[in-house]
């Protein structure tokens, strides 16, 4: 029993939250429509959180994720408005962001600069570029309709972003659990020295990790622009803390507290369900904050209590 709480405490917390909302507003909250809403609402947070998970696996921070997302959204929108084809622009922006991530990784892995300050600085730099490119204001008029498909379209009755999220979750779950790269990243996070002594090219893998994080952040930014039909130079700002919150929440799941894709997804769901459910319950704004804070703490205390005996 204890073991179950220890292992799945956060999931149990999530279930309790869902059940509570379900009892309070069965018709609205439990409706299919609402769940398809919830899934859609969490999808972008999920993607960027998985990005954050990648660097957290190697015990690093990437604070540039929100800047990358904003940058990608603005540049994509700008280039589309300039008339370039979306099939050219999207890969190009993802590629550019990947390179940006590699540079982050280079500073961290090769030059040994703390990732927190590295990515804060490169993020600030990128933010400057984004401002410069956009003049500080929203880009929206002239964005071609076909671009909006990604963020607003549907496939088999589910929003396309949900499918994209599923794909990313699956892909990264696979990378982390069934590929050498994934295992090596975990080994670096577990004991960098041991990984190096085992012959793993630690620096290279770290750099790749930062690259992947940046790509996922950029993808989030692009999808966000498509979802909102417009790009805002600080659109990604809201994701930074929330992404890490979900990763940390997820870290309390499974094993010894490492960042992991499934944990992150549970974290994302907890956040998404809370926001959705509290809105449906008509809870006043300030009270939502108090409740969100308390519910998360309560869930963790609950789990912590059962784990404590170690």
């Amino acid at each position: 029993m204890k073991e179950i709480f220890k292992k799945y405490g956060t999931i149990i917390g999530l279930l309790i939250i869902i059940i509570s909302f379900g009892i309070l507003r069965p018709n609205t909250f439990l409706s299919l429509r609402n769940w398809s809403n919830i899934l859609q609402q969490i999808s972008l947070l999920a993607i960027i959180s998985i990005g954050a998970t990648v660097v957290m696996v190697i015990k690093e921070f990437d604070l540039s994720i929100s800047s990358v997302a904003s940058f990608a959204g603005i540049i994509t929108a700008g280039l589309l408005v300039d008339g370039y084809s979306m099939y050219l622009v999207i890969p190009a922006v993802l590629g550019l962001s990947f390179i940006f991530g590699l540079i982050n990784g280079f500073f961290v892995a090769k030059l040994n600069i703390l990732s927190f300050i590295t990515t804060l600085s490169t993020g600030t730099f990128l933010g400057g570029i984004t401002y410069w490119y956009s003049g500080g204001s929203i880009i929206f008029s002239g964005i071609p309709r076909e671009f909006l498909i990604w963020g607003q379209g549907e496939f088999l009755n589910l929003a396309l972003v949900i499918w994209i999220m599923f794909l990313i979750v699956l892909l990264f779950w696979y990378i982390f659990n069934q590929t050498m790269l994934g295992r090596q990243l975990y080994s670096i996070g577990g004991n960098e020295k041991a990984a190096r002594y085992s012959g793993i090219k630690v620096e290279k893998k770290k750099i790749i990790a930062f690259g992947l994080t940046a790509v996922l952040s950029a993808l989030t930014g692009i999808l966000l622009a498509s979802r909102l039909g417009s790009a805002h130079p600080t659109a990604g700002g809201g994701y930074l803390l929330r992404a890490y919150a979900t990763v940390f929440l997820g870290m309390t799941l499974f094993k010894q507290g490492e960042a992991n894709v499934l944990g992150t997804m549970v974290g994302v769901l907890i956040m998404g369900v809370l926001a959705n459910g509290l809105t449906i319950l008509n809870v006043p704004n300030y009270f939502q904050d108090m409740l969100t804070g308390s519910i998360i703490i309560a869930a963790l205390v609950f789990q912590g209590m059962s784990v404590k005996s170690n």
Binding site: Y131, G229, H232, A275, T279
Partner: protein
């Protein structure tokens, strides 16, 4: 049975948004409606999410409290499909919405810019702005246009005010600007908070020859004007009127009437030393 109205805003923490929404809440509650305010702290994706939630929940009307509706096209369309009317409260207007009640930001910008230029005649001015906010951006556009047309006015420094913490940020920037440009005559602020920051820096530097103007009619700014600080003018949007108009428009829609206008403007008053006392609570 009472009507459910959801007010969604990304900017509840901004003084003006807050005042406007409160004015509306008061009027709407007097009608017996149930008003709920949802704030997403500047996050538009979250804002879109919350739109979806209240649409799924089937509220009777949605009020968009500031924010650019262009970023919420899809959600507005959804609301229309569900037959939920969407009203703008100091937001923008796009197809599908019923109406936007606002003060004309271009006019606000023109009002405080003209006041500043009239007061100083000619000279050097500082611009404190924040283009990311659409309404605030419109004021800037007007300011730029007017200043461009005047050869005797020079913008010697401009500072993009950081949010959150605009007062402190503007104050710090102003301290530096005062040192590098001691000969400035005026400060144009796109809203009142940076104007207050500028005033704090000017006061600290012991200057009294600089004219600062803001927009919004923030009560702290009005008090400062009344006390004879460097802030000489602000433009107060009449939020109470805005709330009234919004409530009237919503009532008409509930009654099944078609609205005539897409955009309605609430009046705005220029507040200076002469009339500041009238506007203090």
């Amino acid at each position: 049975e009472s009507k459910e109205i959801a007010v969604l805003t990304p900017y509840l923490e901004s003084v003006t948004t807050n005042t406007m929404i409160r004015a509306f809440e008061e009027k709407a509650e007097a009608e017996g409606w149930n008003v709920r305010v949802i704030d997403t702290k500047g996050d538009f994706n979250e804002l879109a999410n919350r739109y979806e939630d209240v649409i799924a929940q089937g509220v009777d009307a949605i009020v968009m409290g500031m924010g650019d509706p262009n970023q919420l096209r899809q959600q507005i369309n959804k609301a229309v499909e569900e037959g939920i009317p969407v009203f703008g409260g100091d937001a923008g207007f796009i197809e599908g919405m019923k109406v936007n009640v606002t003060s004309n930001n271009y006019v606000l910008g023109a009002q405080n810019t003209s006041y500043l230029l009239n007061r100083i005649g000619s000279g050097k001015i500082v611009k404190l702005y924040h283009s990311a906010h659409p309404g605030v951006y419109q004021r800037e556009v007007v300011f730029d246009a007017i200043v461009d047309s005047r050869d005797d006015i020079e913008v010697v420094a401009e500072h993009y005010v950081q949010v959150p913490g605009p007062i402190e940020n503007a104050q710090q920037a102003m301290q530096s600007i005062l040192l590098s440009n001691p000969d400035i005559d005026g400060v144009w602020a796109a809203w009142d908070e940076p104007a207050i920051g500028a005033e704090l820096a000017i006061r600290q530097a012991g200057r009294d020859d600089i004219v600062v103007v803001g927009i919004d009619g923030n009560s702290q700014a009005i008090e400062m004007i009344a006390q004879g600080s460097s802030i000489k003018a602000t433009v107060k949007q009449d939020f109470a009127a805005m709330g009234d108009i919004l409530v009237e428009q919503i009532k008409s829609v509930f009654a099944g009437e078609e609205l005539v206008d897409n955009i309605l403007y609430a009046p705005a008053d220029l507040i200076t030393e002469d009339n500041a006392a009238d506007f203090m609570d």
